[in-house]
């Protein structure tokens, strides 16, 4: 057992390296609290319970996607109210702030859903970035960056 100290020092070094993300986060004072979501004002309930939505909202959206696009079923009944299965037309009409709702949680968990590559968030509608005036400029920028990218 002459190597006892070597082994112990090795284990200590291993533990330090293995847990280094924790120490770095503490040193950088990274906020690790569960994010506070801003819930929409004036609404008391979603289409399912909070716990269910928190765990399975992505499954609901997947199901809606398949039903709307491929099976041509567009509406669903929520307590007698006929609603459209639509992320931007139904969900985001109540949850009208993507940054304070979707993004906070997604960023916290480090997930990057690609819904918003195509679907429009309420913020984007308000911005309306392409106007007839700046369209030419935007076009030029896009083309240039595209050429640089290759």
């Amino acid at each position: 057992m002459n190597d006892r100290w070597k082994i112990i020092i090795g284990i200590i070094i291993f533990i330090i390296i293995f847990t280094i993300p924790l120490w770095l986060n503490i040193a950088n004072k990274v906020d690790t609290d569960v994010p506070e979501l801003v819930l929409p004002l004036g609404y008391t309930e979603c289409i399912a319970s909070t716990e269910y939505m928190r765990a399975y909202h992505m499954d609901i959206l997947d199901e809606w996607r398949d039903k709307v696009v491929r099976q041509d079923v567009r509406m669903f009944n929520f307590k007698g109210e006929i609603l459209e299965m639509s992320l931007s037309k139904t969900c985001m009409k109540c949850h009208d702030n993507k940054q304070n709702f979707c993004d906070r949680c997604h960023n916290y968990f480090g997930v990057h859903p690609y819904c918003w590559d195509c679907h429009t968030a309420p913020e984007e509608i308000k911005k309306k970035f392409a106007t007839k005036e700046n369209l030419k400029l935007l076009n030029d920028n896009t083309n240039n960056s595209d050429k640089e990218g290759r």
Partner: protein, 261 residues
């Protein structure tokens, strides 16, 4: 039975088998044609475009504007990257095989609106490796942008140039972006969907946007319904289709009969 007879019997049977199978395959209708003829919903959405009416007051421009606005089609000025759902083309380019140099000017100067023909036998559907595009039971050639992997086989297959590929990120180039319809992302193919998003339980809640903006120049409806307006127009006026010789059976008809402008 000697060895010689046995071998000739064997090859003879094999030959009959091969020839019979080939003959069966040729005579049997292919899967595509079978699907084209079958219509489970009893519906066949089709469009008739009256070119003379379309020319009046440049109506075709408002049709394009209405469609591209409603469907978040970006205004890309670079011709190599542009996205088109419905666009204007010269007569001689739209109907190459029906053009000759002695045609009257009133015909050759007609603006022709081109869009996806929603073929009965769509070549784009045959080649799509992910079934991101498929033919619905009511005849609409639909697209699922979630599934498109951007291989562009469909662009190569479509004889009408109806499909566009997003070479650049389209979202920043959309004029007055709307949340009524999704935008697309870089790397997917897109095209006209006959405004399938307006269909609820098999019926249109409102006509397609180009039809609404056309001041009666475009007639849209169920071709299987003998009382529909589109059926009446097609059975009473002379109409042509693009590249009928390819037997893709396009369902967008162009009426070139009517009052002169």
């Amino acid at each position: 039975m000697d060895r010689r007879k046995f071998i000739s019997l064997l090859t003879g049977t094999a030959a009959i088998g091969v020839v019979g199978k080939l003959g069966f395959e040729i005579t049997a209708k292919s899967e595509i044609i079978k699907n084209a003829d079958k219509n489970l919903d009893g519906k066949r959405w089709a469009m008739a475009i009256d070119l003379f009416k379309l020319k009046k007051e440049n109506t075709y421009l408002s049709c394009i504007e209405a469609c591209h606005q409603a469907h978040n089609v970006p205004d890309i000025l670079d011709k190599n990257h542009e996205i088109k759902w419905i666009w204007r083309e010269k007569y001689k380019h739209a109907f190459i095989e029906q053009e000759h140099k002695n045609l009257p000017d009133k015909i050759t100067t007609l603006p022709v609106l081109l869009l996806c023909n929603h073929c009965d036998r769509p070549p784009c559907v045959n080649v799509c490796p992910t079934q991101a595009t498929w033919r619905r039971n009511d005849g609409i050639v639909m697209m699922d942008w979630h599934r498109c992997i951007g291989c562009r086989y469909c662009i190569a297959a479509c004889p009408y140039g109806s499909r566009s590929f997003n070479f650049v990120e389209p979202k920043p180039l959309i004029h007055n972006i709307t949340d009524e319809f999704p935008a697309r992302t870089r790397g997917v193919v897109e095209k006209c969907t006959f405004c399938a998003e307006y269909i609820v339980k098999g019926e249109y809640t409102k006509p397609p946007d180009c039809v609404s903006a056309s001041k009666g120049a475009i007639v849209f409806g169920n071709l299987n319904d003998k009382t529909s307006e589109v059926y009446k127009i097609l059975t009473s006026k002379f109409s042509i289709r693009r590249k009928p010789e390819l037997s893709t059976e396009p369902e967008v008809y162009y009426i070139i009969e009517g009052e002169e402008v």
